[in-house]
């Protein structure tokens, strides 16, 4: 059939698997994709595509952020006014800001959901194909989670309004409660003893350049490791099933669509499940490329629509003399703030330092536990890549219980806390704050 598309449009319809895989290797952008992918890994069930959604949210944030960069002025005198100008006179500025904000919130939520997915499917397990070592990707993931929090937190300061100023002041107080290095840590964070111009500049550089760059680099590593590990963990299970059913043809020589590189002892080709699994898999072009594009468009669409519905807040200009009561952390840190307040109490003449316990020790222990978990999890290799594998029942329950507890504390912090962190009911509306005239 004759192709009717105009010649200046670059188009590509692979006619053979070989052409499809060649294209993947030749094209810079496409080479991030594997040449083939099992249907199980491509499906929605295995991963919810949550990692990809997180990545696309990061892209949306980078795009909107790049435009915001042209308008924002990182100076304590002018930052607030420059954000007001975005709201009032920059074309589509309100929308841009709101979309950036919505995407940031969504990214935190989706990255956590992705972690939960990886945990519940045991996809971090160290038992994999030769050459695979999924715990490394789990650790890169933990670093990405912390980076996501840091990106969000540093972005919080930039509008230089009351919300920003006091969230960072509270955060710095928590950092200062660390033993021995606390004060130094606070100085490092703030560039002084209180939130000021040096802080704003630090957070600006971190938020706009350093942290996004680091995140992009780690994401690339994350994706590269995913390929070295032979794809999603579920692929290993598909391979097991295929081997058992003896439906596999012996590894065919001379294929070009292999994983790149090799591992000591054996070539990757010989072991890569995707090679054994021709019938269980499809070529990445067009299946993965098309679905990624569809997911990206969906993410962009959801962010843009929510950006129209949910305006980004901008409170009064930062005012060191007026402490909002209560000064609440962003929602994803509220469970920690709640713990800080619960753990601050007095025993006789001794005051228990909740800031250290709830703000530093507990998160530190949790991150440490997460990092060590691939080696504490004693379930068999068959449990990797399977949702709620029976052998992991107990750890899944504990994990979910902790998660639910954190969510519950977040809800308490959001809806049930009033001035002085006292309990209020959501229907008890406080009188509007007094004004000058």
């Amino acid at each position: 059939m004759k192709d009717r598309r105009p010649e200046f449009v670059r188009h590509f319809t692979p006619r053979t698997p070989r052409e499809a895989s060649d294209a993947i290797v030749r094209n810079f952008l496409l080479h991030a994709f594997p040449a083939r992918i099992t249907r199980a890994a491509l499906g929605w069930r295995a991963s919810g595509w949550l990692g990809t959604i997180a990545l696309h949210l990061f892209l949306v944030l980078s795009l909107t952020g790049a435009v915001l960069l042209f308008h924002y002025i990182p100076s304590v005198e002018r930052a607030y006014a420059s954000v007001k100008d975005l709201e009032f006179i920059v074309s589509f500025g309100t929308w841009l800001r709101a979309t950036h904000r919505v995407a940031a919130h969504l990214m935190v939520a989706v990255v956590v959901a992705h972690l939960v997915r990886v945990f519940l499917t045991g996809a971090y397990k160290k038992e994999g194909a030769p050459g695979a070592f999924r715990p490394l990707n789990w650790w890169i993931g933990i670093a990405l989670l912390l980076l996501t929090f840091l990106l969000s937190f540093t972005g919080y300061l930039l509008p230089w309004d009351q919300l920003a100023y006091w969230a960072v002041t509270v955060g710095a107080q928590i950092a200062a409660s660390a033993p021995l290095v606390g004060e130094a840590l606070r100085e490092l964070l703030l560039g002084g003893s209180s939130v000021g111009q040096p802080t704003l500049l630090r957070f600006y550089v971190l938020h706009c350049f350093l942290l996004p760059g680091l995140t992009a680099a780690l994401v690339a590593w994350h994706m590269w490791r995913l390929r070295k590990d032979g794809g999603l963990a579920v692929t290993d299970r598909v391979a097991d099933a295929a081997r058992e059913g003896a439906r596999v043809a012996p590894p065919a020589p001379g294929k070009t669509y292999t994983l790149m590189g090799s591992t000591p002892g054996a070539t990757v080709q010989a072991h890569a499940p995707s090679l054994l699994l021709e019938r269980e898999s499809v070529t990445a072009i067009p299946a993965v490329v098309r679905r990624s594009l569809a997911v990206f468009c969906a993410v962009l669409a959801v962010c843009s629509l929510l950006g129209l519905l949910l305006p980004a807040p901008l409170e009064e200009p930062a005012n060191p003399a007026v402490t909002p009561n209560p000064a609440k952390a962003p929602w994803y840190f509220l469970w920690l703030q709640e713990l800080v307040s619960l753990l601050t109490f007095r025993v006789g003449g001794f005051v228990v330092d909740g800031a250290f316990l709830g703000g530093i020790l507990l998160p530190g222990v949790l991150v440490g536990l997460l990092a060590a978990w691939p080696f504490l999890d004693r379930s068999p290799r068959e449990a990797a890549g399977v949702w709620f594998h029976p052998s992991r029942r107990r750890q899944n329950r504990v994990f979910l219980a902790l998660l639910l507890a954190a969510v519950a504390l977040m809800l308490v912090g959001t809806f049930f806390r009033g001035p002085y962190w006292a309990w209020v009911w959501p229907w008890e509306t406080a009188p509007p704050p007094p004004s000058w005239v």
């Binding site: 006619r15 074309s91 021709e278 070529t283 569809a294 468009c297 843009s304 629509l305 129209l308 004004s435």
Partner: protein, 267 residues
């Protein structure tokens, strides 16, 4: 049909009817594309709907880094404008003073509610007729509070009858016996130099407070009956003539820190 390495392409789910992901993903892509277009359309519509109908205009005051976009709606050459301001414009040309230094309101804003400061998180609303009325004063009287932020050092200024009278009260009642203002006076009572900067949330309103919860209303009540708002207050209770409590309240609230270059301070 080319067969590169022996296997018929169709069997591998690459082309034709065997591309099982084509339809569901195509549908997702179409839905997302439609949603994206809808978002764009709504964004354009909102942008058009919220732009000032007369187009955008502004007064940018370079030495103050201030911008007032009031002139998008209130033309500074309209007859009504010239009439309302009279010879005030000679000493305070709008292109140098803008509008919000006298009027309050949110200078950068372009929509009416935002510009007039009738929105959460904007602390200096427009001193308009409505706000004046709920405090029992006229708009011109309310605005004297702002005039006097610049004119505080002068005992008598034309166009500020209310505060001229209040300044005489301060002399006559000898507030400096107890208070200090600008380093002068006694230190038996709170320093009043920048009383107008005290944040509204720092005032204690007694239980059962009636009337507006504003610093202005608090001061009016405090000047009429100090002990009613500060139990056991040592501040004297005066029998003030009609309107003098309001005048004193406006006066103390006008005492604010202003960071202005010399050109903006009256001689």
């Amino acid at each position: 049909m080319a067969v590169g390495d022996g296997a018929p392409a169709a069997e591998l789910g690459v082309t034709g009817d065997r591309d099982e992901f084509r339809r569901p993903d195509g549908r997702l892509l179409a839905a997302a594309g439609a949603a994206l277009l809808l978002a764009l359309l709504l964004a354009v519509l909102r942008e058009a709907a919220t732009a000032p109908s007369e187009g955008l205009d502004q007064i940018w005051i370079e030495p103050l880094s201030r911008v007032d976009r009031c002139v998008s709606c209130h033309r500074a050459d309209a007859p009504a404008f010239l009439e309302a301001h009279g010879d005030l414009l000679d000493a305070h040309p709008p292109e140098e003073f803008g509008c919000t230094l006298c009027h309050g309101g949110q200078g950068p804003a372009t929509r009416q509610a935002d510009a007039h400061g009738d929105v959460p998180f904007w602390e200096e609303p427009l001193l308009d007729t409505r706000r004046a009325r709920i405090h029992g004063v006229s708009r011109a009287q309310l605005m004297e509070m702002r005039c006097n932020a610049c004119h505080r050092a002068q005992a008598e200024v034309r166009g500020m009858p209310t505060l001229n009278a209040a300044k005489q009260q301060v002399e006559r009642k000898r507030c400096l016996r107890c208070h200090s203002i600008g380093g002068e006076g006694a230190f038996d009572a709170p320093d009043l130099t920048y009383e107008g900067d005290k944040h509204p949330t720092h005032y204690a309103f007694p239980d059962g407070w009636r009337g507006p919860r504003t610093a202005l209303a608090w001061h009016v009540r405090h000047f009429t009956d100090p002990a009613a708002v500060v139990p056991g207050s040592a501040m004297p209770t005066w029998i003030l003539p009609e309107g003098q409590a309001e005048a004193l309240a406006l006066l103390v609230l006008s005492w604010r820190r202003l960071d202005l270059p010399p050109r903006y301070w009256p001689r």
